[in-house]
């Protein structure tokens, strides 16, 4: 009977753990040193606390099922006051348990502090790169600053990083408080308006890791995701070089028409496309839009069909988002989509 009762929570716990199978956004599948430290601390806590739970439950069960003793031998008038020997034994046990609790809690505190220090110590790394992340309702502005202005790369909702190099995330926000969280790489960092917060991430293996805003920020908080793409250094450099290329004016007449549609509608008042008169910065930079894997901050895969749906009815995909419902005529839509997807 007891065994069966214990089985149910055990199965429930296993079911919960199996839910963490998706490896792209999981603190349990660390891909870098900081996330590794955090995962180590988490497992240390879980194992230690599980052992304590088992020990406490064993004591409770022992107390419940042991045979009654002592009371029969004592005179009736003393049943509510334990004998001196019992009193001493109780005092000894309670003191031992209290001391053990304090020591264990202190141990956990030390482990937490050591992990916290280890996570921040990467900040002394010399060969790091800096990425500025600015939270917006409900997308991420991403900038790779450079002392030489034309080597600065601006993109959105996608951060490419080289494997094995520490990356400093310098975060801030344009509107409300957001939180940058890529669980496979490090803990959360709040993005606060008019303040810069810093955090280092590092990926030790190539891969795609999903991040998510972790501070409630309005209607579309749940659809404010980003991807961190860790590539080997040469592949990262190739991506960087491609981003630094100014897009060529479209040669194809259909794409030229798409560009005209873009520049003659409200698109131009919010977005930037390098090399054109579109220079607004309140929406994501679209200079290399076609090279990104998702649209609408990780909400949909970047396909022509999804893009068409997003442009014609953005408020259906993400109700309440700040993308204007623009009046694009039926024969203008396909050239516009083709043009945007050609911006590699």
């Amino acid at each position: 009977m007891i065994r069966r009762a214990a089985l149910i929570p055990a199965i429930a716990a296993l079911a919960l753990l199996s839910g963490c199978g998706a490896k792209v956004q999981s603190a349990m599948d660390p891909a870098g040193p900081e996330a590794g430290r955090i995962a180590g601390l988490m497992w240390f806590f879980i194992i230690l606390v599980s052992v304590i739970f088992v020990v406490v439950m064993a004591c409770v069960l022992y107390a419940l099922f042991r045979g009654p003793r002592g009371i029969e031998q004592e005179p009736l008038e003393r049943t509510h006051a334990p004998s001196t020997a019992t009193e001493e034994k109780l005092t000894r046990n309670v003191t031992a348990a209290t001391v053990a609790t304090v020591v264990i809690l202190f141990g956990l505190l030390v482990a937490s502090v050591v992990t916290g220090r280890a996570i921040s110590s990467l900040g002394t790394a010399k060969n790091g790169i800096t990425v500025e992340v600015t939270g917006n309702q409900w997308w991420w502005y991403v900038r790779y600053p450079n002392d030489i202005a034309q080597w600065t790369v601006v993109t959105a909702n996608e951060i490419h990083i080289p494997v094995g190099r520490p990356v400093q995330i310098r975060g801030t926000s344009n509107d409300v408080i957001h939180s940058f969280w890529v669980p496979n790489l490090n803990g959360k960092i709040d993005l606060i308006p008019s303040r810069v917060t810093e955090r280092w991430i590092q990926a030790d293996r190539p891969g795609r890791f999903r991040g998510q805003c972790a501070e409630f920020c309005g209607l579309q908080h749940a659809h404010m995701a980003l991807w961190v793409i860790a590539d080997p250094p040469d592949k990262f450099q190739a991506w960087m070089n491609a981003q630094l290329q100014a897009p060529q004016p479209p040669g194809d007449p259909e794409l030229q028409r798409g560009q005209q549609v873009f520049l003659n509608h409200a698109c131009v008042y919010c977005h930037t496309i390098g090399g054109t008169s579109a220079m607004a910065s309140v929406g994501p930079d679209l200079t290399h839009f076609g090279s990104r894997s998702t649209i609408a901050a990780g909400t949909l895969p970047n396909t022509k069909g999804n893009l068409g749906g997003w442009i014609t009815d953005p408020q259906n995909v993400k109700p309440g988002n700040h993308m204007a419902v623009v009046d694009i005529k039926a024969d203008e839509l396909q050239p516009l989509i083709d043009y945007l997807e050609s911006l590699k």
């Binding site: 109700p319 419902v325 623009v326």
Partner: protein, 171 residues
């Protein structure tokens, strides 16, 4: 029983709250009929026609006014009008308007543009956003209810001691 009735009344009161109504999927185009206030002359073909007052669909909506406040910066209205104080362009916190201060006048001004600097926004930005901007500009002058007007910002503001004025009536 009385408590339940009271709670039901509270919930009913909430459902009638117009100021928080959000129209997040507006129609991209609305064919605008200009109101009589937007006319620049009184001469009309075929004699005097019935008066028509254009109505801002976002009048008294707190959400739309705060959207207008955001768009006022996003579309850089503040670049010339400087949060209502004026600079390159005329101030917007005022009582005397060159081209009229009624909602359809303001709509008309934004859609058509005006000589000497005001650009033509019609056909560029969606009409529902123009109405949101109109609602915000009206709120600058306390022409929208206080309950729907955005909270105090760090920018220039109309004097808080000035009387509330909604639809031309001072309260």
């Amino acid at each position: 029983m009385r408590r339940i009735a009271g709670l039901a009344c509270c919930i009913l009161a909430l459902t009638s709250c117009q100021r928080e109504k959000r129209d997040v999927r507006p129609a991209p185009v609305r064919t605008v009929t200009f109101g009589s206030a937007a006319r620049e002359d009184t001469i009309e073909p075929g004699g005097k026609l019935p008066q028509y007052q254009a109505v801002n669909p976002y009048d008294r909506s707190a959400w739309a006014i705060s959207e207008g406040q955001r768009l006022f910066d996003w579309y850089n209205c503040s670049g010339c009008h400087s949060h209502g104080g004026g600079g390159i362009g005329p101030p917007l916190i005022k009582t005397t308007w060159i081209y009229g201060g009624e909602p359809d006048n303001l709509f008309d001004t934004i859609v058509k543009g005006r000589p000497n600097g005001m650009p033509t926004w019609g056909g560029r930005i969606p009409e529902y956003q123009i109405w949101q901007l109109v609602a915000f500009i009206r709120s600058m002058n306390k022409e929208e209810p206080q309950s729907a007007t955005p909270a105090r910002t760090d920018e220039i503001q109309i004097s808080p001691t000035l009387k509330q004025k909604v639809n031309g009536v001072t309260k």
